[in-house]
Subunit: 328 residues, 2 copies
Amino acid sequence: MNTGEQLLPVLAAGGPGLASGLRLAEARLNEVAGAHGEVLAGHAGGTLAAGGKRLRPLLVFLCAGRTEPDERVVAAAAAVELLHMATLVHDDVLDRAPLRRGYPTVVATAGRDAAVATGDLLFSRAFAELAATGSAPAVQALSNASTALARGELMQRDDAWSADVTAERYRERCQLKTGSLFAASCRLGAELGERGGHTADALAAFGDRIGVAFQILDDVLDVSGPVEDTGKHRGTDLLDGTVTLPLIVARARDEELRALDLRSAATTPREAEALCDRIAATGALERSRTEALEIVATAKRDLAAIDLEPWQRDALDLVADGVVARYS
Amino acid sequence: MNTGEQLLPVLAAGGPGLASGLRLAEARLNEVAGAHGEVLAGHAGGTLAAGGKRLRPLLVFLCAGRTEPDERVVAAAAAVELLHMATLVHDDVLDRAPLRRGYPTVVATAGRDAAVATGDLLFSRAFAELAATGSAPAVQALSNASTALARGELMQRDDAWSADVTAERYRERCQLKTGSLFAASCRLGAELGERGGHTADALAAFGDRIGVAFQILDDVLDVSGPVEDTGKHRGTDLLDGTVTLPLIVARARDEELRALDLRSAATTPREAEALCDRIAATGALERSRTEALEIVATAKRDLAAIDLEPWQRDALDLVADGVVARYS
């Protein structure tokens, strides 16, 4: 488990119930990764080990609000992380990424073919985990999120290198690519914690917002670095043709940037870094970061109106702050 | 709808309820393909149009045994076909296939990236359709099948060009790759037609068997052709490194074939066709076809012991015969 130092206060707020829930979810993920033949065990094991902050399972537990671990909540926590892992494996296929968080990707070690199938398998297991809870609305929430993730991915590919991507379209993509699974994590937690209806909707809206803020910050970090913190070169989005908020804002402010043909402007890591510097010079990073902070502020404001246990609200507040406080 | 001439007797046996059910499922598939943005509509539309026999939806309807169309059964029929389409789109990515049944594949028209995401989207919609039925066991059945499909695909990639693939391992792969979704189609039909328990298990076993037989016959047709019927060159499996029953049997019978290094034996379509002729010369195609026929005979024998309406049994018998009677 690599929840990240920034999340230690969240764990403290969540108490022993949260910590043991996260441990159970981690054990379940290891079990699933090891259970479907040696080939999967190898591929999925690497993806699991590359870890990550397990933010989505964390949201499931916090929104479920149980102080004792519950089997169905653990299953939902494992399911959202499995779906997330599946999309990471497929994203790496698309991006031909050699490393993720310093670990070799499945596509790098086993090839594109195995990576597509591994992603499919992780996908399937996400739904199998959730089906085991016996909750059809839970499955529906996950499949809606999963549809949104794929739509976001298609939109991103479709918009690659396009000069016409508006800030509005960018936000829609963030909602699809990231907000949707954060929202589903909160909704699943609420539903399985037996807090359906209005509370589930409100928690899902909270998740959606902090997911979008998380994505905006991710896109800021791709331009700002530093490399030592993010673990990847600056400007990978520019090399991929992914048009993000910093670039959109910078182009609105800098005529020369606006005149650039995106496809030819950054074809090498060195050119991409130079373009990052130009984007930063326009103040677009501060503007983008401010937008993320505003979204988090709205999320926290609305959270205050939801009927929650004090420890739940405290912990969710900390998570909201955490998504925009990374490396800053 | 392209159910294929061979399935006309099945439609006759199934009566007007079956025909209208299949029409509703087709309409639902078109709706799903059109509903998630223009990009998906374009990509999925092509895959849908390439059609196929809609064998899996047919099994759902026949096992449900309703004489009036039922919304949940239609949803399950759409779900199994969506899952099948998702795997076809991903298979085409892996095989870099330009055409499927004469239509350009998504990977050929839109690129690998869009094809992976399109497959993911179809995957998600399969689960969304099924979740809408409110049946958690149905979702579980589909996710188990979906896991099996991905495991089969991983196994196939892992065994590529291997001289060590036994007939037993080959059969296991057929079960994972094809039997599992045929079985799930029957199980879903039975469950949603409110024939759970023993009947659902028995119908799933029937589906599993005819799925394996279907796959064996597919692999025979890849060696035997004729191209005019199959719509693809002979020996594509050999070019892919996919070791199938005809090759396994032929290698056991022909020492020179056994000595061949599979990776270098067929690197061009012309070499693959020559290798097909050598395989055929050993009698391996007849042996493989006989195995498929025997499996179908067992499936039909066991079907006779299941408590079904006479029209259901007649129609399922015809489907079983159909999977091994293609182009012969």
